[in-house]
């Protein structure tokens, strides 16, 4: 595959004209840089996924299993019976088009099959053919079509051009959620062994080693120790966190992305500094070392299998409650699925901040709270000594992560924290934040490198809003609370809005946090010189 070299100006020539031919008569063109490589057989074997076989998306023949069609039809049938959402969403769309220009992939590609309504119709047309009387009798006139290999390829191509961000569902008058439909569409492709490498790899890693990146226990510890060295260099304070410690009050779980690459590690440094400063009785786990859940992008069952470790580990270690790090889809899974899958967590207690005494009644069943909720409560009670001027070199805007926004509704807590640790905070335009926020364009396991054009196109609406505040206010830092954002928005910014860096909120907390016994800091957590204080 040739390297992706297109310049931003080329990508911006987006053609929103609809094709001459009807969408059913417009065959799918599987384009380079828009899709990800197939999964490796060994990764699929590790978790026992079905129909493992050799195939390449660009090939004519996908070597589908003999009974592939039956598998898909039965798969649809089973899911219609399991999910009212899917069943209702297959039936009630009126094709009003309100969702069309809400999708970041549609705005970035102009491809009509990326309009959520049409992405859903790709599957609905098959549903009508095999499950509705009208579709069986009237066929194409009723919007029904036969399931062929070309139709399957089209489904695959476009269901991996959706990041399940739910923005369409905010605008739909019936709340039709393409994320639900995409999740089920992806389950169907998974039944046929048509999984992506970038998803299957992390899933296999997470299953065996406990985290997506495949960090083994000693590596997790040594990675964190490197961060501790850096923290000591910057602040003069030596921190000694614990791992897999029984009897700790709190288990801390964060996405493994925070332990590995920049800028995620700066966020992790922020956690370490905060918890140390509070004297929090907490432990890391190397077994439950992943908050995120790439299983969620393959099948409901796989997601549950990976998620099970969090409660299992909390039980084994005998902690009282669980604290979760900054992540996006992780919190959709925790907030809306975990308790149903693997609860009830009756061996845990309702989370109670040992510092402020606040009882988090909003998590009284799940027994797990978000570290930003925890931090906002600390700041509100004046428990942290903060020097926001240490973030004065940053002009900050905040990107609401899709899942935390539309699958949880956490909007005020992160803003409250930012306003207390940064002196320069600017909101992006209102139609691009909060429940109307735009996806980074690389979620749901699409954060590979071979699909860079797709990612840049999908990231365009977010980047465009950042560009607006960069040009208006000189914003140079995009704060967020999602590990995938931290990993992928850096590339999106470099491409579309050079000069804007990306950071987790806890990095900014780490900068502002005045620790007991710390030395005069001269740099921020990235080693960048701090702005000179007036009169200093």
């Amino acid at each position: 595959m040739a390297k992706f070299t297109a310049k931003p100006a080329e990508l911006l020539k987006i053609d929103f004209k609809t094709p001459k031919t009807d969408w059913m008569d417009t065959p799918v063109e599987i384009r380079e840089h828009m899709y990800c490589h197939p999964a490796k057989a060994k990764d699929l074997e590790t978790v026992g996924f079905p129909n493992i076989h050799e195939w390449r998306p660009a090939d004519e023949n996908w070597n589908l299993p003999e009974n592939w069609k039956e598998t898909v039809i039965n798969g649809i049938k089973e899911r219609l019976q399991k999910y009212r959402s899917f069943h209702v969403f297959m039936d009630i769309c009126v094709r009003c088009g309100a969702c069309a220009d809400k999708c970041h992939f549609y705005l970035g590609t102009g491809d009509p099959k990326n309009m959520p309504v049409l992405r859903a119709e790709l599957l609905r047309s098959v549903y009508r053919k095999y499950f509705t009387t009208g579709g069986k009798i009237f066929g194409k006139t009723a919007g029904a079509r036969e399931l062929t290999e070309d139709v399957l390829k089209e489904l695959w191509y476009y269901y991996y051009q959706c990041t399940e961000c739910r923005r369409c569902s905010v605008f739909c008058p019936y709340g039709i959620d393409q994320a639900e439909i995409t999740m089920i569409g992806r389950e169907l492709t998974n039944l046929l062994g048509l999984q992506l490498g970038w998803i299957a790899g992390p899933v296999a890693n997470c299953f065996i080693k406990g985290n997506h990146l495949g960090l083994e226990p000693h590596t997790i510890k040594s990675n964190i120790e490197m961060m501790l060295d850096d923290i000591e260099t910057i602040t003069g304070v030596r921190i000694n966190p614990t791992f897999n410690r029984k009897g700790a009050e709190i288990l801390f779980v964060t996405p493994s992305g925070d332990l590995f690459a920049m800028p995620g590690i700066y966020t992790a440094m922020g956690y370490l500094m905060l918890f140390h400063e509070l004297g929090l009785d907490y432990t890391w786990s190397t077994y439950a070392s992943e908050g995120g859940n790439f299983g969620f992008f393959t099948s409901n069952e796989m997601a549950k299998r990976l998620n099970s470790k969090i409660y299992a580990e909390a039980k084994r270690l005998g902690v009282k409650w669980i604290l979760g790090g900054e992540c996006g889809h992780m919190w959709r899974v925790l907030h809306q699925y975990m308790d149903t899958w693997n609860g009830p967590a009756d061996f845990l207690e309702v989370p109670k901040s040992p510092i402020t005494g606040t009882v988090f009644e909003n998590a009284k069943s799940l027994k797990m709270i978000h570290v930003i909720e925890f931090a906002a409560d600390l700041i509100k009670h004046g428990k942290l000594k903060l020097d926001p001027s240490r973030n004065d070199h940053l002009k900050v805007t905040f990107h609401d992560s899709c899942n935390v926004s539309r699958g949880m509704g956490m909007f005020e807590e992160p803003r409250y924290v930012i306003k207390n640790i940064c002196n320069h905070f600017y909101e992006m335009p209102e139609n691009t934040i909060r429940e109307k926020t735009f996806c980074c364009g690389s979620g749901t396991g699409l954060n590979a490198s071979e699909n860079m054009e797709l990612r840049m196109r999908g990231g365009l609406p977010r980047a465009n809003a950042v560009k607006y505040v960069r040009d208006q206010h000189g914003v140079n830092m995009l704060a967020n609370i999602c590990a995938i954002d931290r990993a992928t928005l850096s590339a999106v910014m470099d491409y579309w809005v050079p000069g804007v860096a990306v950071a987790g909120i806890h990095e900014l907390i780490g900068n502002a946090l005045v620790m007991k016994g710390e030395k005069e800091r001269t740099t921020d957590l990235r080693g960048e010189p701090l702005p000179r204080k007036e009169g200093a």
Partner: protein
């Protein structure tokens, strides 16, 4: 094809009714049998569809949260956009069903000068939808006059309100005009916005043509052809009292109107018009958002194969010990 097929289908229905009553004298078929069959199909069909949906469970708590969650006491929850009690959900659903709240959010995204994405308010679809649904509802309610003797008192109120313009005799009912205008707008919008036209199916045009036909024949009868309203009421009262009669002198246009209405009723349960029932069952809207506070039970939850801590330690015990990480078995 997508437009012509449903268009000619509706034209055929019109001709069928005209030929049926004028040529073949099938008044009883078109005046009694078809309406009964249509209403029967409607009732059974809608119940069947709703029960079928209801049979599929809602395994997970998947509300689309469009506002601040219930959290720390000093942060104001948005109860209508992120409900945490049944009362909140009723409020959210009422906004959705009665005021089309989500459609009201609509914005239009556009790429300007190949460089800037801008988003402008776009309430036309919302306005047309509200106008369409409410005028249709009032028109429908006005028809109760044909099925009740004496007409209920509120009808008089409704008609006074509806005819407030005091134009002409018979007095002009504004909702009839709004209905026709709104449905025409919805049709033209489907035709002229390229993206919407591209996604449209025959199944989208068919109900539009039907309703345009229904509204047009209704207006024709009331204001222009002055259909024998006494005869019509005789027929409708006969239908509703299950002792059907076919009065003399009711014009063919009435039978056209009746056939189109019957078609709409009969078609309803098989079509996207079921969004009327479906909106109530949409899990992203009718669930609370406080899924960490109360556990949702999935009726088909089943045990899955997991990778246990013991298996994990077995594989990494030596490395863990070397790194000073505590283990269960030394």
């Amino acid at each position: 094809m997508k437009i012509l097929f449903p268009f000619f289908a509706v034209i055929s229905l019109v001709l069928l009714a005209v030929v049926g009553v004028k040529g073949a004298n099938l008044h009883f078929l078109f005046g009694v049998v078809v309406p009964y069959a249509a209403v029967f199909t409607f009732i059974i069909g809608v119940i069947y569809r709703v029960l079928k949906w209801a049979k599929s469970p809602v395994p997970f708590s998947i509300a689309t949260t469009c506002g601040q969650q219930k959290t720390l006491p000093w942060i104001k929850q948005n109860k209508l956009e992120n409900p945490s009690s049944t009362l909140h959900v009723i409020g959210r659903m009422a906004l959705e069903v009665l005021l089309f709240r989500s459609l009201f959010r609509n914005i239009k995204g556009e790429l300007k000068d190949s460089s800037r994405l801008i988003y402008g308010s776009d309430k036309w679809l919302w306005l047309a939808s509200i106008a369409f649904h409410y005028s249709f509802l009032i028109v429908l309610l006005r028809h109760i006059r044909l099925f009740a003797e004496p007409a209920p008192f509120y009808l008089h109120l409704l008609e006074t309100f509806d005819g407030f313009l005091q134009i002409g005799i018979p007095r002009l009912f504004i909702t009839g005009v709004i209905l026709l205008a709104a449905v025409t707008f919805l049709f033209l919008r489907r035709l002229y916005i390229p993206q919407v036209r591209y996604i449209s199916l025959a199944a989208d045009y068919f109900p539009l043509f039907l309703i345009i036909g229904i509204a047009t024949t209704g207006i024709l009868m009331r204001y222009f052809l002055k259909t024998d309203i006494v005869g019509v009421k005789e027929l409708t009262m006969g239908l509703v009292s299950l002792s059907p009669v076919i009065p003399e002198g009711v014009g063919a246009v009435f039978y056209v109107h009746l056939l189109l209405v019957s078609m709409l009723f009969a078609y309803f349960p098989f079509s996207k018009l079921m969004h009327m029932g479906g909106v109530f069952l949409s899990p992203t809207r009718n669930l609370t958002g406080n899924s960490r506070e109360y556990r949702r039970i999935n009726p088909w939850n089943y045990p899955v194969k997991v990778h246990t801590y013991e298996e994990y330690e077995e594989e990494f015990r030596d490395k863990m010990k070397m790194a000073g990480i505590p283990v269960e078995k030394e």
